[in-house]
């Protein structure tokens, strides 16, 4: 008996070989995002996202002049 790798999807556990894997990268000043997308024919059945935040947000504290 040979083990067939299965991946959990919206259609249940499916053989990895039956799916098409689409890696997507998005990079901008706020974040870098890696999306791991699996297609079964023309339907996305699994999609995960891993976001690396590059920076938060800042707020300026303004000191008013007395004059």
């Amino acid at each position: 008996m040979s083990d067939v790798p299965l991946i959990y999807t919206s259609k249940g556990n499916l053989p990895e070989a039956s799916l098409r894997f689409e890696p997507v990268w998005e990079d901008n000043p706020d974040f870098t995002k890696f999306v791991a997308r699996y297609w079964l024919d023309d339907e996305v059945v699994k999609e995960s996202a891993f976001v690396l935040s590059k920076r938060g947000v800042d707020s300026s504290a303004i000191a008013q002049s007395f004059i």
Binding site: T9, D30, K33, V44, V45, F50, V51, G56, A61, A63
Partner: protein, 142 residues
């Protein structure tokens, strides 16, 4: 050497400490179609991702072992670990924002952050934090 003007660094750090140090925080996801943002004083369920597909209303817990830091005159803080949403999550629709808010302080809105439009299908969503310093901290008072 001349005098310099501005709000002191320690005052900014104290203000930041008051809203973040040792607070219980959560991170809620908001739909692309939503209108939530920094003007919201508190967490709102309006425009939040629906509580389906393993997403829990109110979002994920934020690990908060850091305290407000200070470099020169910039106070900063970041969560001390990645924010991880429940396994095998399926989003009800596309989302593009996460709000970090304090459940310790009546759900005070700390900040709203861009994630880019995203859906999750039977998958994972992990938000990894930037370096916790005065240049990239998640919250900075400069």
């Amino acid at each position: 050497m001349a005098n310099t003007f501005g709000i002191s660094g320690v005052a900014k750090q104290a203000a930041m400490s008051a809203i973040l140090d040792a607070k219980a925080l959560k991170a809620a996801l908001y739909l692309v179609s939503g209108t939530t943002g920094p003007t919201n004083a508190t967490y709102t369920a309006t425009g939040e991702l629906a509580a389906t597909g393993n997403y829990v209303a109110g979002g994920a817990t934020v690990t908060n072992a850091n305290t407000a830091g200070l470099t020169t005159t910039t106070a900063y803080w970041s969560p001390s670990a990645s924010i991880v949403y429940p396994a095998n999550m399926t989003s009800s629709a596309a989302f593009d924002m996460v709000m970090i808010y304090s459940t310790t302080d009546a759900n005070r809105n700390i900040g709203c952050y861009n994630l880019g439009s995203q859906t999750i299908t039977a998958g994972l969503l992990t938000l990894t934090m930037p370096t916790n310093d005065a240049s990239t901290g998640v919250v900075r008072f400069a």
